[in-house]
Amino acid sequence: MGRRNRRLIFFVLAILVGLAAGLFSGWELNPVPFKGTSPDSLRVDYKGDIVLMIAELYEAEGDSGEALTRLAFLGDEDPASIVEEAVVFAEEHNYTAEDLVLMRALLTALDASSEVLY
């Protein structure tokens, strides 16, 4: 193996070592700041509380379109499944009966509006 080839191999190896160090540093040691996160990354209990707020507003306004607009805050996922997940979480974590009624009413309204659409 010529001296030139050996140098090239060591150069590539150095790049790979640097790359590995850079990735480790950027992902583990010094990742992008923990700020400016999006609402769809919120913890499930906070998502549940947002759904409860939207259910409280739906109870007061009776506007499922407005509820859908508000649910879009939680991401692109299907709004009915977002509410369904929140209802399941609420049932498992002993939310009050009144809150569960509100959330189920919202879920029923969303199911009904999606049936009208399809």
């Binding site: 150069f11 790049i15 070592v17 640097g18 400016g36 996160t37 609402p39 509380d49 507003l57 109870e59």
Partner: protein, 178 residues
Amino acid sequence: MLDETQVLRTSPEEPAGNRGGWYLLTGLVLGLILGLVYAWVIDPVVYENTLPSTLDEGDKDTYRCMIAEAYAATGNLERAALRLDILDDEDPYYALGAQAQRALAEGRSEEARALALLASAIKSYQADSEDLLSTPPLPTATQNILPTYTMPIATSTPQRSFIIFDPMNNDRHLSLAG
């Protein structure tokens, strides 16, 4: 003459020998930069299970507005205060007031009204909480005779005091709340 030829032959080799460490260091730095660009820009860490306090300012505003609207709809101040608390604002009253002003300036009067309503409610709630904290504790003897966990039964009749005459003792009257 021979010596000069040897010098001429060996001179190009010397810088190559000195470069030995530098090209490795160049590769290492190049790799490090590429790794950092990939980890920070192209495929950064995606956080999950985050807290509302880490949301960006625009999303915090939307969250705060929803809290205010829910308060306007339900009147549940305690719940609204707890919800605001998780946003971790330095001064929730100021944050609500500032957002209300912004909403008003942008022509969203309904939103501004809800935010202002919650701001004023939060201010009195904070003042009440401070009063409660500054009240000195009751003496132990008094605390023992205070009823605990006894909720009054709600009736449609307002409470009245009745004065009952005690026939055994003409001077004494019993006062009952009914």
